[in-house]
Symmetry: C2
Subunit: 266 residues, 2 copies
């Protein structure tokens, strides 16, 4: 985000705050940030604060950040769950300075070296519970989205967490489980590497994503993720049963139904 | 394959045979084939015959094609299962003219308009049971692979079918089941379309693949696919149990294990 907001001259000075000093140095070297800073110094000297850390850490850090901001400053997060984060600051006197924000794009890679200014082009971003944010904070968040070439959707934090369970979180569990399946059954790792088709690489790509980011997401969205996971296991059982019973008409029907996704995803 | 083999001047005249007349006309218009032909005419006038049709149809067509070929002609298939196909011609007097071939690349799209000459670059192809093919047939198949920029692996048809169950077939079932999960639970198709992240598009891409191709593959590789599917469901249940019991250490361990795929897939 910083890379592109600088490129667009929307951000003219960027402080970087992180526990990981190597990441800070890399970020400065690459030109993502102008200055390595403490959290307090960065917050007190910025018009816009973007919190981009695991969602459990956001719940801890966000109230501290809000303690330090005035009515001309805006705080956004980028987390993949929202109910828990919104809940953590619902009674905070500066709640209205916060805009819960979720740009729907990411890769399986992390760290400043994975950053690209092309990241968000044409993707969606969600703003949750817009009525709980101040008008000037919302206005700034919209400008951020515009400068990142994101189109905006608005919904409640609860709806957001249901939709992301379907659209994002279950894909990660599926991908992790698929990787574990292959690693468990296919002992010849060399064969995997040599044979791996583009199809396999595509479905298993998300399995490279780190637990530091994803365990907190599953934790905070546990109920929705379990709902979808149960449905997913029952859908897989239908394929299993069709195969076991050699009911190839049912198998074809299951596949034709899945093909409908073609009309929905361009 | 025809597009690239023509581009490389490896194939100088290509006959096209298909039930679908629209596809034949398109293929001719695009420049994939030179002439629309009957099967018999095409086989009798070609040095190399490539059978690229669903694997159940290959079992029917391959013996007929072998009836017509002499010792200067070579027949290859491109099917994603091999034991059933090899079995279908094991006692055929011209078995040695056949090279069981599987280039490990494809997309979720079909028909001549989806063809691209860049298709196979850097990917793997498997030749099965090479000792059952004539030397000059194998030699031609190797030249084909070279001209398609495929690197070759050799294995038995049985081993091939075990590996493809892990590396390709289970990915398709996972992707179909994931599409059905989302289509079942997420009634607001508009929301899927607007929110769909790149992660979701990536894991669900294969769910666009047609049943005409995939039902016969699952049918012919039933036992291996069921083995892997059972393992996959049990891996998903581990995620479910870790979440239900809020055992986040186990969840992290499952994810860390899946992350090992990063070292195997570049």
């Amino acid at each position: 985000m910083a890379l592109k907001l600088r490129e667009r001259h929307f951000a003219d000075y960027v402080f970087g705050v992180d526990f990981n000093e190597k990441h800070l140095e890399d970020a400065k070297k690459i030109g993502i940030i102008d200055e390595i800073s403490s959290l307090e110094n960065a917050v007190k000297n910025s018009e816009l604060i973007i919190i981009a850390i695991p969602v459990d850490a956001t719940r801890e850090v966000l109230p501290i950040v809000l303690n330090w901001v005035n009515d001309h400053q805006t705080v956004m997060d980028v987390g993949s769950t929202k109910s828990g984060i919104v809940e953590a600051v619902k009674n905070h006197p500066q709640r209205k300075r916060f805009v819960p924000f979720h740009p729907m794009w990411g890769t399986e890679n992390s760290g400043p070296k994975s950053a690209t200014a092309l990241s968000f082009e044409g993707k969606a971003a969600v703003i949750c519970n817009p009525n709980d944010s101040a008008e000037n904070a919302l206005k700034l968040a919209k400008e951020v989205a515009k400068n990142l070439d994101l189109h905006l959707l608005y919904m409640s934090a609860e709806d957001h967490d249901i939709h992301t369970a379907y659209i994002s979180h279950i894909s990660h569990i599926t991908s992790y489980a698929l990787a574990n399946t292959v690693l468990e059954k296919e002992r010849e790792e060399d064969t995997i590497f040599q044979l791996a088709s583009t199809g396999f690489s595509s479905t298993v790509r998300l399995a490279k994503s780190h637990p530091e980011m994803w365990v907190p997401i599953f934790k905070q969205n546990k109920e929705n993720v379990l709902d979808v996971l149960n449905e997913h296991i029952s859908q897989l059982r239908k394929f299993k049963s069709a195969l076991e019973k050699e009911n190839f008409d049912l198998l074809e029907e299951l596949i034709r139904n899945a093909n409908r996704i073609r009309g929905i995803l361009k």
